[in-house]
Amino acid sequence: MQTATFSRAMTLLFLLVLAVFLIVQNVSKPRVLILHSYYTDFSWVQDINVGINRILEKKSYKVRWHYMDTKRHPDQDFMVRAGNTVRNMIDSWQPDIIIAIDDNAQQYVARYYVNHPKIKIVFTGLNKTEKDYGYDQATNVTGMLERINYQAVKDILLQVLPPDRRRVLHVSDVSNTSEGIHNEIVAFDWAPLQLLDSIQTATFDDWKKVIHEAEGKTDFLLLTHYHTIKESPTGAIVSPKEIIKWTNANSALPGISFWGFYVEDGGMMAVALSPYEQGEIAAKMAVNIIENATPPKQIPVETSHLFVMYMRDSEIKNRLGSLNLPLVYEAFAKATNNYYE
């Protein structure tokens, strides 16, 4: 009888110690929240994840991924609701680090944790400035700015366009991200190119009107974000592929973008920011904070400096015609598997 009681007591003791061990180990494991502004259907998001995984997949952290999906649902109500959902989750899960990607993640979530005593923020894909989200005054924030390499685009355009055809028009949607890009484009010194205008369109009809009117008045289109354009002011979002398909069919102008998705959607060419770099650098910063206990403030904010070429052969032949594009760009795009037929 005594032996049975002793055996039972030892079983319970073992189970208790096991439970304590598992809980303590689990609680002490670093928790990282990867918070995307958009959804996985966006190649930008997928490629950033590739960059993050290169660093984090070998680490034994608890990692959660959350996609706010604000590209497909840009209305204010949805974005606020998406932000609240994530903040509830953060308050409950208490991650050690939030890697917040793109501007909406900062706007609706991360900025609420500025100077939080336990949670650190690593931002990436930031088009606006640190000041816009209060990060410039924060002690728990570092990250990477997403800055378009305007000079590289300018160099290409200067190589391709003859001196009498150097008028450029920027067209985008109306969104938080596009607002930041618009400000940068307007502020950049494009000379000797001539920036005719930088126009943000809310509806597909507006977009069509701008593209139609550009014909004959401009020589090159700069197309950045077009993912929140609606059928009508209260209508549904138009598929990005449909917008580029329509633009290709209704405009003879060559187009260039700063993101690879433009070419994936059917566009001609992009001097794109490297999403891999955005993900990889942010993940490295998170590892630095976790493993070296480095305060985020001591990690300098970085700016993107890598870019990747994307090209679509059929569109280049149709639109550039006799204009001469140096072969090195084609070779670069082919070498990085970004050359489309």
Partner: protein, 633 residues
């Protein structure tokens, strides 16, 4: 084989003795015995004897001890009893009292025409029928038939005809099902081969359509089509095996496994019975009070036992006992009201708790990862609170109005106290079961502290139960619904494959109008979704309905920025609605489990159920503002 002929020199033997030798093959040809397992028949052989009988010989008298079952090989026998007209038999069995454990024969058997009989001793029959219970039921029927009137005989004939018609209809349905299982995939394949879908996606849909036909026509057990799709997908290499098999490593799979284990221990411990007695002890002695008590008992069991059948098994005997103990007239309004309350208690809230029904785990597995982390057990319940309250209040009110009557419960004072005294102090098993439940729920509700996800809390508790020996190896093998777990893993893998092949996106673009409708007017969308599901459920089994609707609606909801949990909850809630008994397996279970005492009126019960379907719609509509308040919508 042995052949024993008991001759009787005083009487004349039949002219043409049969060439029977009692062997296995001959026994297998005898009706009823042919349904026995072969090993059982083999055991019978040495004990069966052939007996020659002569005209006028009395085989047994009414009231004599029933020691032998007889089967007529040749000749005829007359049965004479006080309760029925004399019956002359020239074939089949008689003296079935020996097979059904009755003590004495109820008739006198006299040989009318000399011949030969097979004799089966009672002792060996008892052993054989123990492992062949359906054969014993057959002997019951055969026994009853001897004492039926001509009208009964006519009814029997009609019943046989009806059975035969049902068999024909069933076979026709199966034949049509298998035919469609060939035709539909062919149509899908040739219809989609030139579409925008990739080659793997077209092939996947081809195989999947065959599985859907199998599910709809119930051609094979429910988990088999899922295995077919998985096998087909892997053989053709349509999707990486880690995707199509991901269901078997998902949290949903392990959550279901652990809840099945905990539920088994709870059901076996006797804790629920004790809990039921305690609830009844403090219930006000009114019809409303007892109705509410069984309702709440069912509600309490719902999150604890994930098998609805398990909950029915708990509540059915209790219902039988209560109807008698309260002095309700069987089949009366008060008894039917009690039955309706008991049934609603264990079934109506299955969509309100993550752990209430096995299919809920499959749906949970369909969600994107971030929805899984959002909808923990507690949040799921929180989101269904308004629906739960509306279901509870309206159902109680409806049953009060619908079953108005003047019967008064007459429970003897001290009845329940005596029962509680009889079962004594809680056993070790009860303590362990209670402890396991407590650890499980406390663990889930404190996940924000220890950061362990719910499936692994469940697995931890299951480990404790196994380590303490509360869940034996035999129980682990027998009582966990492994077939369902196979199906669950398959379902999750299928939905992941659909997503991997981007079929969901392709499909969503074809039903974009529905998505916009989902965003535009959620009330209207909910109502129409409910009506669609009720329509589909007339033909399609519940689990298949859930899988079909969820595999389409969840990706669509994600694309439209609607929380997919909302759609999944509505699908689960509406799928449980029913009009006809055949639609609801759990109702037929309740009928079967209470068949002996027949405590309630089935027609009234079904009529009442028609109205409860409206309550489901009311629960959804009332929840919409609450979901908006919670930020889910």
């Amino acid at each position: 084989m042995s052949k024993v002929v008991a001759s009787n020199s005083d009487h004349k033997l039949a002219d043409n003795p049969p060439t029977w030798s009692v062997d296995f093959l001959q026994l297998e040809k005898i009706p009823l015995l042919s349904e026995c397992r072969r090993r059982s028949l083999s055991r019978l052989v040495p004990h069966v004897k052939t007996r020659a009988v002569v005209c006028g010989e009395v085989l047994f008298n009414s009231g004599e001890s029933a020691e032998t079952l007889y089967y007529i090989l040749q000749g005829s026998v007359q049965l004479l009893s006080a309760q029925s007209t004399p019956e002359q038999l020239s074939s089949g069995f008689f003296g079935e009292e020996a097979a059904i454990c009755a003590e004495n024969y109820q008739a006198t058997a006299t040989v009318c025409e000399a011949g030969y009989l097979l004799c089966f001793p009672r002792a060996i029959l008892s052993e054989v029928l123990e492992v062949n219970p359906t054969v014993r039921t057959g002997f019951y029927q055969s026994h009853i038939n001897h004492y039926c009137t001509a009208t009964h005989a006519f009814q029997r004939l009609n019943e046989k005809e009806l059975e035969s018609q049902v068999d024909i209809a069933l076979n026709q349905k199966l034949a049509l099902g298998w035919l469609l299982a060939l035709v539909v995939p062919a149509l899908v394949y040739f219809g989609l081969i030139d579409s925008a879908l990739s080659w793997p996606a077209v092939n996947f849909l081809t195989i999947f359509s065959a599985a859907i036909v199998m599910w709809i026509f119930v051609l094979v057990p429910e988990y088999v089509p899922a295995l077919l799709v998985i096998t087909g997908v892997i053989v053709l290499g349509l999707v990486p095996s880690e995707v199509v098999l991901s269901g078997y490593s998902s949290g949903a799979f392990f959550m279901a496994l652990s809840v099945f284990g905990i539920g088994t221990v709870l059901a076996q411990s006797g804790l629920i019975y004790r809990l039921a007695l305690h609830i009844l002890r403090y219930t006000p002695a009114t019809q409303f009070g007892y109705g509410l008590a069984v309702y709440l008992l069912g509600l309490l069991l719902t999150p604890l036992l994930p098998m609805v059948n398990g909950r029915i098994s708990v509540i059915a005997p209790l219902l039988n006992d209560m109807v008698d103990a309260l002095g309700y007239k069987r089949g009366g309004i008060a008894a039917t009201r009690l039955a309706a309350s008991a049934f609603a208690g264990v079934t109506l809230f299955s969509a309100c708790f993550l752990t209430a029904k096995a299919i809920n785990f499959a749906v949970f597995g369909f969600f994107p990862e971030q929805i899984k982390t959002q909808f923990t057990w507690g949040i799921w319940l929180q989101a269904t609170l308004v629906a739960l309250l509306v279901l509870l209040i309206l159902d109680v009110l409806l049953s009060t109005v619908f079953f108005r009557n003047t019967e008064q419960p007459r429970l003897r004072s001290g009845h329940i106290s005596a029962q509680l005294k009889l079962i004594g102090a809680p056993s070790r098993q009860e303590w362990i079961a209670g402890g396991a439940i407590a650890v499980f729920f406390v663990g889930m509700l404190t996940a924000y502290l220890h950061k362990i996800d719910p499936p692994w809390i469940g697995m931890g508790v299951l480990f404790i139960l196994l380590a303490l020996g509360s869940l034996s190896k035999k129980s682990f093998q027998r009582n966990i619904d492994w077939a369902f777990l196979f199906m669950l893993g398959g379902f999750v893998g299928l939905v992941k494959s659909i997503s991997f092949l981007e079929i969901d996106q392709w499909f969503a673009t074809h039903i974009m109008w529905l998505g916009q409708f989902m965003r535009g007017n959620f009330y209207l969308f909910s109502g129409l979704l409910g009506l669609c599901i009720y329509g589909v459920r007339l033909l399609v089994p519940p689990n298949t309905t859930v899988v079909l609707f969820c595999s389409v609606m969840i990706p669509l909801a994600v694309q439209q920025g609607i929380n997919p949990w909302l759609v999944a909850f509505m699908v689960l809630l509406f799928t449980e609605g029913w009009f006809m008994p055949y639609q609801n397996f759990f109702y037929t279970s309740l009928v079967e489990e209470t068949q002996e005492k027949q405590p309630f009126d089935k027609n009234q019960f079904i009529y009442f159920n028609l109205f409860t379907n409206l309550i489901r719609f009311a629960a959804v509509f009332a929840s919409i503002p609450y979901w908006q308040y919670l930020g889910l919508l």
